[in-house]
Structure formats: C-alpha cells, structure tokens
Subunit: 133 residues, 2 copies
C-alpha cells in the first residue's frame, strides 16, 4: 500500500484487492441491501435467507461471517432454544451500500442488452471476433 | 427476470447475478480503470499487463475475453509478426467505470481500518465473537 492511511488496488501487496473481491460478489451485494433496508434494525438469519432466493444456508453463513470479520456486520445471539441469531449493518457496512447500490443498478439496467449480445454471439458461427480466444 | 427490459438481482433465474460476479472482481475493476484512463484510445495487451501489477497473462486474457463477450471492451488485432492486440472500452464499458470507481474508492479508503480490525481479531483469543463460527 502506498501509505498507512489508504489502500492502493494497484499495489499487489495491498489487501484492498482481497477486500474488493469479497465485497463485489452477488451474495454480499444482496445481503447488504436487505440489511440496509432494515437499518439500524436487525434481521434474523432465517429472514435474510428467505429474502435472498437461491442462497444456500452454507453460502449465507460464509458471506455473513466474512462481513462480520470485516466489521461490516454485527452479530447477536439470543440464548433461546434453538439460539436466534440476528444481524445488522454497522456504520461501516452502511457506508458500503451506496457504492454497491450503484453497481447493482448498473448491472440490472444493462443486463438485457448484455445477455442479448451474448446470446447472439453464442449462436453465431465463430468469425475471429471478440468472443474467440 | 421481472421484465424483459431490466434485470433483477433477487430473481435466482436472472443473469444479473452472474454479471455482477463478473464485473465486481479486482481484475475487472483494474482493467476498466486503465482502459478508461486511455478512452477513447486503445491499450495494447502488454501495456495493460504492465499497468496491472501481479496479473498473470492467463488471468488478464480471461478477464479481457469476458469483458469483450459482454460487449464492454472491443478488441482489434493488427497483423504484425507477432500480431499486436489492442483493447478499448466501448460506450457500455465506459459507463461501468463510474460505479466501479465508487466501489474502488470505498475499498481503498476503508481498507486500513478493516485490516486493523482483522489483525486484532486474528491475534485475540477466540471469545465467541463475530469471527467465530
């Protein structure tokens, strides 16, 4: 990293690279959106899972653990039987929602034209164009 | 997807999910930034590689091929010996730079506090806190 106070994505030794790969995924983006909608309130694990269709229990656990380790999410366990686990965004986590929302909006807006292009490219005979190795 | 005209990240059948995972990675972010700095000009493969320290030839090829397939990057081959390959952002690719830049800025800005937190958590004895399964 160039200084002790700011990361540098273009420095191969800087952990900004790993951080970007962690926060840029679809599951992080979805979890942060659902939690941001309830902020500063909490969301139960089971509710989070229900609102992220297609996520497995394991993938959601991994995603939330990674967010908690990075200090973006706070976790609270209530000693019920079975235990109830609640998650909420920290202030740091909440600050991530704005750039993630912009990327999400870009992807949702441009997905149709990108998919249409991909479909046409896959149907077309190989012509040495951009899709060819 | 909810309509034919816009993607929906929360629909498991919608390709927005895969698109987001493709464009959210560190290598995509770096390649788009380097290309955006030269837009509308082109950048040679070797120059791109030099400006993305740590990227392997293979990883850069995979990244650029994926961007080209999605219509974010245009590729031009000049029939020299050996052939020279040039890349430039399309208008669609250029539109991705703004949200990627915001996410990059967030990661670079908050990396130091996140790493500091991770370092402390790794050094501390396990206490059933957020980092514990």
């Amino acid at each position: 990293m160039t200084t002790a106070r700011r990361g540098d994505l273009f420095d191969p030794r800087c952990p900004t690279r790993q951080l970007l790969d962690r926060v840029g995924t679809k599951w992080t983006s979805m979890a942060v959106k659902v939690l941001a909608e309830q902020a500063p309130g909490e969301v139960r694990f089971a509710d989070l899972r229900r609102r992220m269709p297609g996520v497995s229990q394991k993938m959601l656990s991994v995603t939330l653990r990674s967010l908690a380790r990075d200090g973006l999410v706070a976790r609270r366990v209530e000693a019920t039987t079975p235990p109830s686990v609640y998650y909420r965004l920290t202030d740091l986590g909440l600050s991530l929602e704005e750039p993630l929302a912009a990327l999400r909006a870009w992807a949702e807006r441009h997905m149709p034209e990108i998919e249409e292009r991909n479909r046409r490219a896959a149907d077309a005979p190989s012509d040495g164009g951009p899709g060819t190795p």
